[in-house]
């Protein structure tokens, strides 16, 4: 999870390269001013100008980060589910399928700690359940990463927005067990 996090944060360099491209036709002015103006210009155009056709680079950086997070989260989760699924079909494939009557899943599959214990005892269904937990965790981690990104940008409104979402998620996940 944290590998692409660190690579995603290197947006200083991409800001620099973008600024250079814009700066070329305006060579008469000192660099630092142009940088400041372009950044301010980008921000203003994002705020009001309806004809702007570019997104700010921090926005694009966040898009890439979240896109990669979702991609790898889903890939890792489905790889775990696939592994458990193959083992499960090899071990239990010939048994009859019984889902007509609800008995509820065994208690060890109902909490994260129980699932981890089942995995260590070699249960193929436990491995599948671990993959499903990773899948459920993916959007939650996405909210956490967004929160951190907006804290870094000092964007107060979206810090509050993401914090509210995270608080609601935490409440519903913890509330389910008490």
């Amino acid at each position: 999870m944290y590998k692409f996090n660190s690579s995603g944060w290197e947006y200083k360099s991409s800001v620099q390269s973008k600024v250079e491209v814009v700066a070329l036709p305006l060579q008469s002015e000192p660099d630092s001013d142009i940088q400041e103006l372009t950044e301010r210009g980008n921000k203003i155009s994002g705020d009001i100008d309806s004809n702007n056709i570019t997104k700010t680079s921090s926005e694009q950086q966040l898009e890439n980060l979240l896109s990669n997070l979702l991609k790898y989260g889903v890939i890792i989760a489905s790889a775990v589910v696939l592994l458990g699924g193959i083992l499960y079909l090899i071990r239990h494939g010939a048994e009859p399928a019984e889902y007509q009557f609800f008995r509820g899943t065994p208690s060890e599959f109902r909490s994260p700690t129980g699932v981890v214990e089942a995995v260590f005892s070699g249960s193929s269904r436990g491995i599948i359940q671990l993959g499903l937990l990773l899948l459920i965790a993916t959007p939650i981690i996405r909210v956490i990463i967004s929160l951190l990104a907006f804290i870094r940008q000092r964007d107060l409104i979206y810090i509050i927005v993401n914090f509210l979402v995270l608080a609601t998620l935490t409440y519903s996940l913890i509330g389910a067990y008490y």
Partner: protein, 278 residues
């Protein structure tokens, strides 16, 4: 039917559901529940658990493609998630006090009405000047790619959209669906977003809304690994295929598919609830 055959058939069904879910922004879950219960005779609680997992898989799998292509409006999605997650908790809390049967029929009527609404012609990008103060304040206005290059759009009626999202969240918590249909309609009809932006932003939000009720389902024993495995592994490749088609497809065709799915869903719900009453 042994587990191997059962898993294979469920896998094929889920693949088709994932394709439809990604294409329409519904999230696949609404197709999974009737599929598992009516065709495979699965108990509705297991079906709802597997549906929830499929909803998160479809949403995240398709969303990563859409975000990269620049369709998804991240800020708008995050802002509206506040409404859907709070709504989902409220829905889960009041679930025990409301007759699901009565609710199902109301929902079906609303869905058919939604299908009718989405068939009404509406030119995209009518407004070039934003009249909504909140949309400016929250920096919701953005751009999206079209064949003619990037187009900018303005977000309208933020309070109305937010309110519909609260309702969508309540329904999601109550019925265990992503309720992507309502999310798309809130953004398409009330907030006047381009269709592809509302579809993809809805997809982005569904994962978080579903995760808000995942804890409850897990603790109640609804999420069965043996059933969820073929569902999730089928839904994912279907969703990726759906995402590829969406980028190329014409909006008009999408609207028709979307409306058809809504109507079929609504009729299915009425049929099921009437059958359950006998």
């Amino acid at each position: 039917m042994n587990i191997l055959e059962f898993s294979l058939l469920v896998w094929i069904g889920s693949f088709s559901a994932g394709f439809l879910g990604a294409l329409t922004g519904l999230g696949g879950g609404v197709v999974i529940v009737p599929l598992l219960t009516s065709m495979f005779g699965v108990d509705i609680r297991y079906a709802v658990g597997a549906s929830l997992v499929s909803v998160i898989a479809t949403s995240s799998g398709a969303a990563c493609t859409y975000i990269k292509k620049g369709y998804t409006n991240l800020r708008l999605g995050m802002f509206l998630e506040v409404a859907t997650t709070i709504g989902a908790i409220v829905g889960a809390l009041i679930a025990s006090f409301i007759s699901v049967k009565a609710l199902t029929i109301v929902l079906a009527i609303v869905l058919i009405y939604s299908a009718y609404l989405s068939q009404q012609p509406r030119p995209e990008n009518l407004e070039t000047e934003s009249t909504d103060f909140l949309a400016n304040y929250l920096q919701l206005n953005s751009t999206y790619p079209t064949p003619d290059g990037l187009m900018s759009y303005q977000v309208q009626s933020v309070p109305a959209g937010f309110s519909i999202m609260l309702v969508a969240g309540v329904l999601s918590g109550l019925l265990g669906i992503g309720s992507g249909a309502f999310k798309v309609l809130a953004m398409d009809q009330a907030m006047r977003l381009p269709f592809k932006v509302s579809t993809t932003t809805s997809n982005f939000m569904i994962g978080v809304t579903a995760a808000a009720s995942a804890g409850v389902y897990l603790a109640r024993g609804y999420i069965d690994p043996g059933l969820s495995m073929p569902v999730m592994l089928g839904v994912l490749p279907g969703a990726f295929l759906g995402a590829k088609v969406l980028v190329k497809a014409k909006t008009q065709i999408l609207r028709i598919i979307f409306s058809l799915v809504l109507v079929v869903m609504a009729l299915k719900m009425v049929y099921n609830s009437l059958l359950g009453g006998l």
